[in-house]
């Protein structure tokens, strides 16, 4: 199966980047690809449980829907720990892992789309 890895280093509700990452993941799942989302730096805020945005689409809910469809989500352990997250603060299905997971995911010709600085 062809794999697409999306790297996100930007938080939700600040710029459009998290929304774009989820749009890309959704379409890639529609295509039947193996889709992985790697969260780094402030991107690790995305899977936080209990988000209640007043007038923006709920990123947590959308992420959970995509995880249920097969999206695999990895959050950098150092970035997550620095911001007070462990697996318990996240929605179900998110793996807290090392940055070394990223090159592992990119083995065997996977494509990478990176979002955020």
């Amino acid at each position: 199966m062809k794999r697409l890895v999306v790297y996100l280093a930007a938080p939700p509700y600040t710029s459009q980047l998290a929304e774009i990452a989820l749009d890309i993941c959704e379409k890639a799942l529609d295509k039947g690809y193996d889709v992985c989302l790697f969260l780094y730096m402030d991107g690790v805020h995305l899977p936080k449980r209990g988000q209640r945005p007043l007038c923006l689409p709920n990123a947590e809910r959308r992420l959970s829907t995509l995880i249920a469809r097969g999206l695999r989500v990895f959050s950098c352990a150092r970035c997550a720990g620095a911001r007070g997250y462990g697996s318990s603060g996240y929605v179900h299905g998110v793996e807290v892992s090392s940055i070394y997971k990223l090159p592992e995911l990119l083995k065997s010709g996977a494509k990478l789309i990176a979002l955020g600085e």
Partner: protein, 108 residues
């Protein structure tokens, strides 16, 4: 070789990224293809007055724009550079292009 560039920054910041222009020009010069996808604030760069995208388009690069982001910013299609294609299902085409056809993907 087919290079895909996904741009999300506004034109004021795209101007700093001359290396993208150089990279794309080099790929075209060596017989490759370049597809530029403009989303978020980068859709503003598809307007006629933006020099960076104009140079890429005139060098033969394909330029695609996200319709939803264009409309959200009140930009009329008639104000866009010639040859720019506005896509309804922007992310579906982007994903297909990145996974099925492109050898390299760059985000700016």
């Amino acid at each position: 070789m087919r290079l895909l560039i996904l741009a999300t920054k506004p034109p004021s910041r795209l101007g700093e990224l001359t290396w993208v222009l150089e990279l794309a020009t080099e790929v075209k010069r060596s017989g490759g293809e370049v597809a530029l996808y403009l989303a978020s604030d980068a859709v503003l760069a598809a307007r006629r007055q933006c020099r960076t995208v104009k140079m890429l388009a005139s060098a033969g690069c394909e330029v695609y724009v996200c319709r939803k982001d264009l409309e959200a910013r009140g930009v009329k299609e008639s104000s866009l550079l010639d040859g720019v294609r506005v896509l309804e299902d922007f992310y579906l085409q982007l994903v297909e292009d990145a996974v099925e056809r492109c050898s390299h993907v760059v985000s700016v």
